[in-house]
Symmetry: C2
Subunit: 521 residues, 2 copies
Amino acid sequence: MTVLRNALFIMVDQLRWDHVGAYGVSSVPTPHMDALARRGALMRHAFVQGPVCGPSRMSYYTGRYVLSHGARWNRVPLSSAEKTLGDYLRPLGVRATLAGKSHVLPDTDALDRAGIEIESERGALLREGGFTPIERFDGHSRPDGRSGYADFLRAAGYAGEDPWSAHAISVQAPDGSVHSGWSMRHAHLPARVRAEHSETAYLSDRAIDFIQAQDEKRWCLHLSYVKPHWPYVAPAPYHAMFRGAPQSPVVKAPHERTEAHPVVRAFQQHEESLNFGQDAIAAHVKPTYMGLVAQLDEEIGRVMAALEASGQAPHTLVVLCADHGDMLGDHWLGEKELFYEAAVRVPLIVVDPRPEADATRGQVLDPLVEAIDVLPTLLEALGADPDGWQHCVEGRSLLPLLHGRTAPWRDAVFSEADYAYRAARWTLGRAPGECRGTMVRTGRWKYVDWEGFRPQLFDLHNDPDELHDLGADPPAAVEREMRERLLQWSLRRKNRTTVPDSDVAQRTEAVKRHGIHIGVW
Amino acid sequence: MTVLRNALFIMVDQLRWDHVGAYGVSSVPTPHMDALARRGALMRHAFVQGPVCGPSRMSYYTGRYVLSHGARWNRVPLSSAEKTLGDYLRPLGVRATLAGKSHVLPDTDALDRAGIEIESERGALLREGGFTPIERFDGHSRPDGRSGYADFLRAAGYAGEDPWSAHAISVQAPDGSVHSGWSMRHAHLPARVRAEHSETAYLSDRAIDFIQAQDEKRWCLHLSYVKPHWPYVAPAPYHAMFRGAPQSPVVKAPHERTEAHPVVRAFQQHEESLNFGQDAIAAHVKPTYMGLVAQLDEEIGRVMAALEASGQAPHTLVVLCADHGDMLGDHWLGEKELFYEAAVRVPLIVVDPRPEADATRGQVLDPLVEAIDVLPTLLEALGADPDGWQHCVEGRSLLPLLHGRTAPWRDAVFSEADYAYRAARWTLGRAPGECRGTMVRTGRWKYVDWEGFRPQLFDLHNDPDELHDLGADPPAAVEREMRERLLQWSLRRKNRTTVPDSDVAQRTEAVKRHGIHIGVW
């Protein structure tokens, strides 16, 4: 099989799977993402390893579960020992280029111990999680006010020390009054930037510039959009496009508050949940979310058109995914972080332009796939030697599925949460190290182990909306099976990351070759 | 409570717990170790995290289970992200000094990625696992022939390029013929070095020199003996001291071969097991092992006398432990690596000279303790701030036990094995990543999960010699309990190692302070 030259790895922040048209239930038309799905394959059952930005992204970038990489919440520095996409691509001479958000924080403690200056070339790579940024933009202004996007806004005439706060996430009322987009009550007003100056357009521009500048050198671009993530602020005309239009229904039931699992109950008391729990607020914010998705779709169309026009599409693997979803009021919750499908299930499209992938082109594939599968998919497509990564990477390349090759596949997916940084920890009286939940989800069951509390259990066949938590009195056989799955999974994590399998195989019974003769008579 | 000034952390390689007199069943008198036990407390039930040198030591040095640190067998480099004793002591201005074996191998791949020269000061610390060696000696000659012990032997008149092989582990027959100590048939002959030039005496000398040279500066010395580990060669008079004396009985039964667990059976086919499985060979080697233990005991007495004479004993915590035991023919096995008590249970003595420890002085303590408890014991005794280590270290300080403070304590211990590097892998047809076993042991039960095979189960109340493996048909309730213990244990590993708990606590609900207002109406 030909090795692909390039990869375009698109991630969208906080995009629900059911807001992509190709999944068949979206209240927003997304013709460009749907076209992408037709050019490749759509994964019907794709799940992230943690339903919150940081852990999820670190799993995408390392190909490893959170239990393995340890970055359990946002802004937990990624261990310097964790290898990422950039490290694995380096032997191929391909750089992992970044435009947008990575959320990687450097392990400054380890850099200190190793005596590495963070401003050095090596330090920069570790700081950026192995990425070479053409533009790092995590979706909000940095304390030092420095960012390429801020400069871009200033150059476009949006003045101020922090043009992101003053324009990109500020809105203007018809009476001329200006308001902060942090307050969701203003979600119906347009952003104080034109659409072409919004974050989504800006990052698309950076990607298009990059794609157009490429010559014969191989490349891998991680285009990482920061929208439709909050603040829920859309530029005109997207802010108004879906106001009054049909919305996806809020999925919730009254008993979900009175009989909630303790951890869910604690999250329902967070400010974002109290607000999104009010139908009027959810209905007020959703059209803006939908508008942001519509804009995103158009921008993805623009990027794909540039890829086509550059002539590189036939040599480029394209992946489109999200780091997690958005509760948008479902189950009386805002934001994400828990294991409901709205948060943990994501859209995932893979376009392999090679003839081998014709076997599934345009299809919707059913197997359970995980975010950690994206990294090995990229590595296999670009031709990286598996011996360099298979002892670390816990995901599986999706290419066998795409190429219609029959192979044994997993029958469960796993995801992890840690609410130590949230008010829920205080509500529940937990120490920072005691706030973890672990989900296993099969085709039928979703089971969550919560440290110190009863589990959650949902029967997805009979209760696809996850309204009835059976975890207070789970069927014994189901619970036994789920806990056995968790055990097999947790005991088999790949932890011997400093030595590849080939080295182990070479050293099996090798001590005698080194003059060590154990137990000889 | 006063913080102790110093620590002497003695490790013995391959010393069985039942070969220390204070445990009450030893066939070798060990008056000096027994005296140490009277000065402190003896842990009756101490277990290592891996019954083989490398993984066990990495657990001692990191305070973490093998599942967490990942150095699953000998010469698997310790991840550069793993902090060790030396890292934790550094803020106190105390160096972790090493005399003897550490078995630490550097993570050269990570050093390369970070651009660190291994010969640099930082590189040296990472190479040595955070230790500052006064003498690193892993118990065999290095390929480059360089070692302080080799120089010492040459200076003492033992000539040759590799005086360790030619003298320390060579023996001389009465007819003057010289033989390699690698062949156990020569175990009854004396080493070609005098006792005072043996490895055990040499390392004691280095420790004594160090102790005598200390002034007011605080210190921590890891004195790490390489004997009674193979080659089974003892200098005169120890080689002959126990020949013909009563030996500990070989613990085995005929059905253990015919009905062996597949992994045990594969190990029984290793050369060392085929040899130690012959009673005559076990009986031939054991007196040498006993002699090495007797010599070790005298040398420990000499070191303790030097500590006393230096006046530092009242300010010094002393720990004596072993990295694992030695099968010596038990269960038809040589060497170690499996989870029988002969291999996984070790001697452990802790001497805390402070009045608080009078509560248990001279006692034998029953609680289940683990090798990973030694690191936090050292850190607490020397006054390290727990916030610097409690988010990483999985062991518990033994000082509450020693001080008679009632506190909840664990009721199970865990240990791990990986036979990927052994011929057993070929026998069993396993890939390098599929060779792990995990033990959980309570007061009564020992249960081992083996990847791809049935478990092992021993009822230690009714079968303390572990002759009857119930794992082929385990009582359902016991199996359920053991697997639940394994699950709780494996899900709760400490993986958020880049951020201390205090930082998490400080950042709980802190995003608003940084201008991020999620879900505000």
